[in-house]
């Protein structure tokens, strides 16, 4: 217990978060943690080799994984797979976002539309999207269309739902104030409702990006000739564990970048929420 909580004075002053560390020390701690993680991983895979616990190809060290990524990058195949995945995500997510935001705005703003669309969404939503992946394959075949269509389907739901919430949560006073200032129809929509719902819409887009990367992997496991998911499954067939882990890390970096991009957009578009 002694070290469990911070000391009582610290706790009373700053709460469970603790007081803010100086920047330099916080950064050093973070770097130390990452280094410790990599060292631990190396030691573990080294121990497997030395002690002959099991076949070392099952747990390659971080350097082997990095090497495999670099090798694929230099020889070129990495870029082909990366481009394939990115293209599918961009197109699928783009379509899902357009559909989700458009329908969400309509359903949020117009009660009749909401009453028609929402029940259907509520019926389909509890079904894990992956369960319908084979349906897409059966319908549109194994090609690009089924993968893109599937991402569109999967990303539609969170984006639609957050957009509806965003529109419905707008303070009615805000709308009344705008109306009393003379805003009507399209102007009311573009100048008040859209900006007020924007933070929620952007949250939905962030969820959508994450989901797109989440589901692209498995649709590339099943019948694809390119893509990072294909690389992973291909690695599994030939026991190329470094390739599997390497492709997973690259996917992580892409997801990270995608999230960062939406966050950047968020900061740009909703500066009024967090003035500097």
């Amino acid at each position: 217990m002694a070290q469990f909580l911070s000391s009582v004075p610290e706790l009373m002053d700053a709460g469970l978060r603790g007081s803010r560390l100086p920047r330099g020390r916080a950064l050093a701690l973070r770097l130390a943690a990452i280094v410790a993680f990599l060292v631990l991983w190396s030691l573990l895979s080294g121990a497997v080799v030395v002690l002959k616990l099991f076949n070392p190809i099952f747990l390659p060290g971080p350097w082997l994984v990095l090497g495999s990524v670099l090798d694929m990058a230099v020889r070129g195949p990495l870029w082909i797979h990366l481009a394939a995945t990115l293209e599918r995500v961009a197109m699928g997510f783009g379509a899902g976002a357009a559909l989700g935001v458009a329908l969400g705005l309509a359903a949020g703003h117009l009660t009749p539309v909401r009453n028609v669309v929402e029940p259907l969404v509520e019926v389909l939503r509890p079904i894990p999207p992956l369960a319908l992946l084979p349906m897409f394959i059966v319908w549109v075949g194994i090609g690009e269309a089924s993968k893109i269509g599937f991402i569109t389907y999967a990303t539609f739901f969170p984006i639609f739902l957050t957009t509806v919430t965003g529109v419905r949560q707008i303070d009615p006073l805000l709308v009344r104030a705008a109306q009393s200032l003379g805003a009507r129809g399209v102007a009311l929509f573009t100048r008040v409702i859209l900006p007020a719902a924007l933070p929620d819409i952007l949250t939905g887009l962030r969820l959508g990006v994450a989901l797109a990367f989440f589901v692209i992997v498995i649709s590339e496991f099943i019948g694809a000739e390119h893509g990072l998911g294909y690389l992973i499954n291909d690695g599994r067939n030939f026991f190329l564990v470094p390739q599997m882990l390497g492709a997973a890390v690259v996917l992580g970096l892409l997801g990270y970048a995608g999230n960062g991009l939406v966050r950047l957009l968020e900061r740009r578009l909703t500066r009024w929420q967090h003035p500097a």
């Binding site: 909580l5 943690a33 369960a131 084979p134 989440f214 496991f221 992973i232 599994r236 997801g255």
Partner: protein, 253 residues
Amino acid sequence: MNAAATRAAALLGALALWAAVAHGNAWLGVVNPVLLPTPGEVGRVGLELAWSGELTRHFLTSLGRVAQGFGLASLAALGLGLLVAMCVPLRLMAEPVIEFVRPIPPLAFLPMFLVWFGLGEASKIAFIGYTTFFPMFVAIAASVLRVDVVLLRAAASLGASRADLVRRVVLPAALPGIVVALRVGVGLALFVIVGAEFMGADAGLGHLIMEGRTFFNPAQIVMGALTLGLLGSLINTLLLTVERRLLRWRAAA
């Protein structure tokens, strides 16, 4: 027409539209009728599967895997989430490692789990555990960190020791966040179990769906998906009920 009626009409309309399109297609033969099963065909496949006991077997297999994987992960997430949130140095160490691992879509590790744990039950349970652990862990730790310092001060000035603070303030204050984390975890478990059962399983609803694809039986795919949706709704309703019971104090009438 009131809202409830519109909603019911929308559902019935969608069902009618599905039936009309599927039957129309069967009659006109625009595409292979197998591709567009009618509601009746889906129902028949469902009844056949239920009658032979297959549906129950697949259902229980998936449920068992979800329960074990999610159970283990939620215990780990609860213990570690509380510990890491309340111990500042540990938290600072854990944060970057989690940020490093978390953006990787869990399904990207599915083949890894098959390589490591084989095609049996262990790989599926471990994979569900892995997938659900991180989001639950992060959400639980965050809900502990959101505990208002004023409540800690109030309790301490009433004589609470550090153990009292954890037991009587931090835990109850974090409980709503913990319940939400568990609900997210269950949803995620149901999400990925399908994927895990696509790859090398001989039972489970995911396997049932994949079998439908292999034998070109879309009615079976739809049936499997609907069953999964039903399972998800049931679990969610159950958790919401528990939540309302447990958190009566949040919105008491």
